[in-house]
């Protein structure tokens, strides 16, 4: 059926994987590769087989059908392969597809295939595309290595070096360079590059980039205008939708934010993340039907995906409870505890189960669960603030005042500077008919933290660093999520190491504290400064 015609050294000695559910296409593509001189060719008929091959072998070229029927599609296999590091730097991934979709063309840059071929596939196209992609991969292998190693400065330097000489990958290099500059926080440098590109031509990714710069600098009006212009000219451009939704949300225009998210879900119907975003926005607005539908889809689409996460289950349970569907809420909570072997998730599910009973008027079960929880949770305050708040509410509504107080105290002490959250705690007590009780508890708990923190700061100022560290470490054990205490502990540790030289234990403590703060609040303004001081010390 085939003969080797014009085999070039480029194709000889490489490992190939073909993934297609249709026998005719598999053998056709295999014959083409053999004709080009390829010998080591594996074929898979679905995602699971493909992943099994990727786990076993390293491939130079993967030809992967997009629509593989049930299960993952070609892009999702690529995403998982990259996520699990099954795909080498030099692997060329080509998607073979019947039609171009927004996901394929405008999806997340880090999960894009190296090229896509639209059917019908013929020998001439296959050959020229493979030659082109392999040459490009070879030219950009250093850049890609730097990108994957998150070595930002090197990435930019390599891009600049390649851009200095005339070559064919200009647009791709500029995209990599600008996105790296943005990650480094060099917004003005990125803006300059976008401006240079746009001076010559209306390129959607460059205009979207300009919008991102505006967004990150807090210029929301400007950002909104740019993203809308991109969408007007390119109605299927996904990235501009994602950012426009964020912009509207930031401006407090949640109605428009939801409209944009709904549109992006239409454009990208298999995206787990976009469904989740739509669900969360609808939930925030109280549009319970839309939220429930979106979360159900998030769970279904996420089943075999790297984006499978408990939040969609827990949110769906809340939405169902609020929407008068307690049976579904309880079922979802049962599922989440089975699907995720995680203590925190199970505790959260228990709290929500109690909430479902309270809302549906099932007082017996609510009371039973409240008691069970009180004994399990006890003084465990290392839980997300939202879960602690829900638990407090459950305890209050089931008349378990002791458990409610201890949970509320832990919550306040861990977040003594978060005014919005403290306000919510107060409201819970008001709603439970205990006016003033909440305020009292908040003031007292807050005071305790402030005092011990002030004592530590005073000790540090007096130069008694060891004592200050000791005090802050004790406070941190009691209040594992208090940002102020962790930042101060990191700062005093840095101070002590500056005076007495580096110290592995203090270094570890400071690192742990800052990592935890960054996790709780990625936008904390003190964390960056403390981190810089620590990095300078580690130098």
């Amino acid at each position: 059926m085939y003969e080797v015609r014009d085999s070039t050294p480029l194709f000889v000695g490489k490992n190939y994987l073909i993934v297609d559910d249709f026998q005719g296409m598999r053998s056709m593509m295999r014959d083409m590769l053999r004709m080009f001189g390829g010998k080591n060719i594996d074929t898979a008929t679905n995602a699971n087989e493909a992943i099994a091959f990727l786990e076993k072998n390293r491939y130079d070229v993967v030809l992967c059908d997009y629509n593989l029927g049930a299960g993952k599609n070609g892009l999702q296999i690529l995403e998982e392969g990259k996520h699990r590091n099954l795909i080498g730097l030099a692997t060329a991934w080509l998607i073979i597809t019947a039609e171009k979709t927004s996901d394929l063309v405008f999806g997340a840059a880090e999960h894009m295939p190296d090229d896509y071929i639209i059917k019908p596939v013929n020998e001439a196209t296959m050959r020229s595309r493979l030659e082109k992609v392999l040459a490009r991969k070879a030219a950009l292998v250093d850049v890609e290595q730097a990108v994957r190693a998150k070595n930002h400065a090197l990435t930019v330097a390599l891009c600049d070096r390649l851009l200095a000489a005339p070559q064919t990958n200009t647009a791709e290099l500029l995209r990599i360079k600008t996105s790296t500059l943005m990650t480094m926080g060099h917004y003005d440098l990125a803006k300059q590059v976008f401006g240079q590109i746009l001076a010559k031509r209306d390129v959607p990714w460059a205009k979207t980039g300009l919008g991102k710069v505006a967004f990150l600098k807090g210029e929301m009006e400007q950002a909104q205008q740019l993203f809308r212009e991109v969408i007007r000219a390119n109605p299927a451009y996904l990235e501009a939708h994602d950012w426009l939704a964020r912009t509207y949300e930031n401006q407090g225009n949640l109605d428009e934010a939801q409209n944009v998210l709904a549109r992006s879900v239409e454009l990208s119907p298999t995206s787990v993340v976009r469904q989740r975003n739509l669900g969360e926005m609808a939930q925030k607005r109280g549009d319970l039907d839309t939220a429930a539908t979106a979360f159900r889809k998030t769970i279904k689409l996420g089943e075999h995906s790297i984006h499978k996460a408990p939040s969609a289950y827990l949110n769906l349970a809340k939405v169902c409870a609020d929407n008068g569907i307690p049976s579904e809420a309880l079922q979802v909570l049962k599922n989440v505890s089975q699907e995720f072997e995680n203590h925190e998730v199970r505790l959260h599910a228990k709290v929500l189960e109690g909430t479902v009973y309270t809302k549906s008027g099932d007082h017996n079960n609510a009371l039973k669960l409240s008691r069970e929880l009180a004994s399990v949770i006890g003084a465990d305050s290392d839980l997300p603030a939202s879960v602690m708040l829900e638990a407090t509410q459950l305890f209050l509504s089931t008349g378990n005042k002791e458990a409610a107080d201890s949970m509320a105290q832990a919550l306040v002490k861990n977040n003594h500077e978060n005014a919005a959250l403290l306000g919510q705690v107060g409201e819970l007590y008001d709603q439970a008919g205990m006016h003033g009780k909440g305020e009292e508890l908040i003031t007292k708990s807050r005071q305790e933290v402030v005092e011990s923190n002030n004592r530590a700061v005073l000790l540090a100022k007096e130069g008694k660093l060891d004592e200050a560290i000791q005090l802050l470490r004790e406070a941190r054990t009691l209040l594992p999520n208090n940002k102020r205490i962790m930042i101060n502990l990191a700062n005093v540790s840095v101070l002590s190491m500056r005076q007495n030289g580096a110290n592995d234990e203090l270094m570890q403590i400071a690192r742990d504290c800052l990592a935890r703060v960054a996790e709780i609040d990625p936008q904390d303004k003190w964390c960056g400064q403390a981190q810089a001081a620590l990095d300078a010390l580690a130098g």
């Binding site: 059926m1 005719g24 056709m28 039609e99 059917k119 019908p120 031509r201 209306d202 109605p235």
Partner: protein
């Protein structure tokens, strides 16, 4: 029991049907190509129309799907910088075997170093369709020329046949003005080409499509201009 007549939602079947049809067309083209290659020139020329017809089915499918998606704002219009040399050689290679079997020579005249911004799939669809069409009406020669003229990219597909009849020339003029006189496959092809031209815009300028007679080979001449 009430017997209601229901109208099925065709869009639910569209994606999977097209997925299947494209697979079938891929295999069909590959099969025809493999087998026609083995024939002697006389038999090749006799069998070539099969390849032409399959290509036409594919063109129509591509055009309908693109028009449907653009109309519903679902088409991912991908304005990217493309190498003209790579584009021309890839499109020509796709049509090469058909032209060989029919004994038609294809002259390529393009500025190899040129790069231009356009949606690869759509423009390749327009040019491949023009070539396939011209292969049917030419005597024995085609010309594909791609040049920059006055800040626009100009792509010409020319043949040495007897030229477009008047009604097709008129339809070509009309479709550019937003009216579609032609019907059937001619109408679809013209509408698609004009739509692709109009989707390409840059700094206030819009692409155009034009049909005329004459050109370098004296026959029909299809012209696509992109800003």
């Amino acid at each position: 029991m009430e017997n209601k007549e229901t109208v099925p939602d065709i869009s639910a079947f569209l994606a999977s049907a097209i997925h299947d049809m494209k697979n079938s067309i891929s295999v069909l083209i590959s099969f025809l190509d493999d087998n026609i290659t083995r024939l002697d020139p006389e038999a090749q020329r006799a069998a070539a129309p099969m390849l032409y017809e399959v290509q036409r089915v594919n063109d129509n499918l591509l055009q309908m799907l693109a028009i449907y998606k653009v109309g519903n704002q679902f088409y991912p219009f991908d304005l990217a910088e493309n190498s003209i040399a790579e584009f021309v050689h890839e499109v020509a290679a796709q049509n090469q075997s058909l032209l060989d079997y029919l004994g038609i020579t294809l002259d390529i005249d393009c500025d190899e170093g040129l790069h231009w911004y356009f949606d690869y799939e759509l423009v390749a669809g327009v040019v491949a369709h023009a070539l396939n069409n011209a292969s049917h009406y030419t005597k024995d020669r085609l010309r594909l020329a791609v040049k920059e003229e006055d800040g626009e990219l100009v792509m010409r597909v020319e043949d040495n046949g007897s030229g477009y009849p008047d009604n097709v020339l008129e339809a070509g003029d009309a479709v550019n003005k937003g009216v579609n006189f032609a019907s059937g496959s001619t109408g679809l092809g013209l509408y698609f080409s004009a739509m692709v031209a109009q989707l390409h815009q840059n700094r206030g300028k819009t692409g155009t499509m034009q049909l005329e007679n004459g050109g370098a080979l004296g026959g029909g001449c299809f012209i696509l201009r992109l800003p």
